[in-house]
Structure formats: structure tokens, C-alpha cells
Symmetry: C2
């Protein structure tokens, strides 16, 4: 494997290499946005062979989720969408979103990304491209429903996460997960059902 | 009226006086939050008599909306809630929110307030207290439904405004108002109906 690592004197495959790739990814995603960033460009920035990037991250989407320390990846979202009956899709998605954001350590990177997207144009472009092209459009196309309906579902969950964890509106901030699933799942179900 | 204005040499009731009261209101709301701010404290900050503040703004809620240049006031929200059949409440509220935010000039102050609430603790407290105590709880109590349901409706509309105007997700950013009303009104209607 040492042939695919250009910098001498560093062990390939170490945690350090993975960390360097992720640092390079954060830089390239921030500069180019999600759409224009490439595995090749990130490998160049990290001074490693593209094959090594592929070794750690099979997709650009997965690399983005890891670089931003998101509590979920597009792959997780697809598996939740596809893994179970369609009539329980709303319940599965709401449960997943509330579960992966329930711990402060896992949700803080997501909240930080959203905060930058709200206030910085570059971060906004990157977040928008990732959310739409890597997640929402693909879910919509897979389900055969209009993109707008998936964005309405996204808007509901985005608003709930902001109200619960950032604005901390009561009683939403303290509400139990089950109560929120009961309340929100029918909304998501309706949007994702033509 | 000159007896109720303490500073000499300035005409009471001028646009300037109203502007000074609003500037004082912004300062006091930011320092104390919405709940602890008082008309008396704002009058003191503006160096005018409280009666003059009442002359311009009948309620603290209205003063907050004017100070922050919000495109809607609690009074507008209540009148939309109460003015028409309950089974069309969702449609009326979604139409109102999309209409008052349709022009960049009217929605920018609201977006600016939300941005600060997302990033600054003081602004967040002020926004939270205003949203809950001055708006959502009162709407919920008036309709006789749990506070959590009104917050779910708020979260949906908050998420839509962020997706449409800040993140600018397509197709939501360019969708027509009528199409969005069709899509979103049943959600709001369901939350606000026990």
C-alpha cells in the first residue's frame, strides 16, 4: 500500500491518514461546494492517491457526512427509506432523525453546519447541494414523488430540530421521542405518499 | 402633550419620537429578553413618559413586532386564526405567512432576527420568549389545543421559510404560493385540530 501514499515516512492506512483526508475534504467542500468537489481533488489536497480515498470512503456523500461529522449519512437515510413497508415510512424517518440527534455530541456538528449555512454563503451553497443532490432528490426519485414533497418533509424535520435543540421551545424541547413520532410521522408519511 | 415628554425642545408625537422608542425597545428587549422587558422600562430608556409609549404601541407584543420590523404581529396572527371557519385555519395561516414574507424588504428583518437567534444566546432568549409567550401559547390556548401541536405547526412553517428563502432549496424556492398552500395547509390544519 505504500505506493499509493505520496508523502514519505508516514504509515498509510493510519488514523492520521484518514484524518488528513477528512481535513482535506472539509477544505475542498467549503471552497468548491458539494457538487464541484471531486474525490480526485480531495486526494490531491490530502496528497494521497485517489485509491486510498476510495479505500476509506466509498462515496463522496459518505465522505461529506464523515468530514462534517453528521449524525447520519445519505446511505443511512436510504436504508431507512427502503427497509420496511412504505406505509410506515414517516414513522421510520421521524424515529431515525430524533434518535441520531438525541445526544448533544452527535447533533452538535449538524447544528454547527446548519448555523454556518444560515450565516455564510459558501457554507450555504455546500449544505444546499449536499441536502438536495445527495439526499432529497435521490429519495424523491427512488420513491417516484415530486422533489417539492420531499423538501416539505425536510422542512418539517429541519424546523423541529431547530425548535427542539436550538431555539429550545418548550414543550417541544422536553417532549418524549414517542410523543413527537406520533405527532410528526403522519405529516412525513403524507408528503412522501403521492 | 408636551407634559408627557421629558426631554425639552423635541416635538412629541414626531416620527423621531416613535423611532427613539423603537430604538430603546430594541435595546431593552435584547438586554432583558421579551418576558422581562416592560413598557415602563422601555419608556425610561427612551426618556419619555410610559403614556407616550402606549400612545404609539398598545401592547408590548406590537412594540416588539415594530421594533424588529417583523412582517407580522401577534395581532395579525390572532385575527387570521379567528377570522374565518376553523376548518380553513391551515389554509389561512399558510397563505398569510407566505404572503407577508413574499417581498425581500419585508422578510429580511425576520430572517435577520432568526439568524441572530440561531447564533447568539441573548437574541435566542428574546426570540423564544416572544414566539412562545406572545404568539404560540396564546394561539394554542385560544384554540384549546396542546402547546406542542402549535409548535409542530410553527416548526413546519419555520422550516419552509428557511428552505425557501435562506437555504434556497429548489424547487421550493421558486414554487408558486398556491402550490405551497395546497401542500402545507393540510399539515397545519391537522396540528391545529384536536
Amino acid at each position: 500500500m505504500s505506493t499509493i501514499k505520496r508523502r514519505p515516512g508516514r504509515r498509510p492506512g493510519s488514523a492520521d491518514t484518514r484524518g488528513e483526508i477528512l481535513a482535506a475534504a472539509r477544505k475542498v467542500f467549503a471552497e468548491k461546494g458539494f457538487d464541484k468537489a471531486t474525490v480526485r481533488g480531495i486526494a490531491r489536497e490530502a496528497q494521497v492517491d485517489p485509491a486510498l480515498v476510495h479505500h476509506y470512503f466509498s462515496t463522496k456523500e459518505g465522505m461529506f457526512a464523515a468530514a462534517m461529522q453528521l449524525p447520519f449519512s445519505p446511505d443511512l437515510v436510504y436504508s431507512v427509506v427502503l427497509d420496511g413497508p412504505r406505509e410506515e415510512l414517516g414513522r421510520r424517518l421521524v424515529t431515525m432523525m430524533l434518535t441520531v440527534t438525541s445526544e448533544p455530541e452527535t447533533r452538535e456538528p449538524l447544528v454547527a453546519l446548519i448555523r454556518s449555512a444560515m450565516t455564510h454563503e459558501q457554507a450555504r451553497t455546500m449544505f444546499r447541494e449536499f441536502i438536495t443532490n445527495a439526499m432529497l432528490y435521490r429519495v424523491a426519485d427512488r420513491l417516484g414523488i415530486p422533489h417539492l414533497r420531499v423538501e416539505a418533509a425536510f422542512a418539517q424535520m429541519f424546523g423541529v430540530l431547530m425548535a427542539r435543540y436550538v431555539l429550545r421551545l418548550e414543550p417541544m424541547a422536553s417532549a418524549g421521542r414517542e410523543e413527537l413520532v406520533e405527532l410528526l410521522a403522519p405529516t412525513i408519511q403524507r408528503y412522501l405518499t403521492t
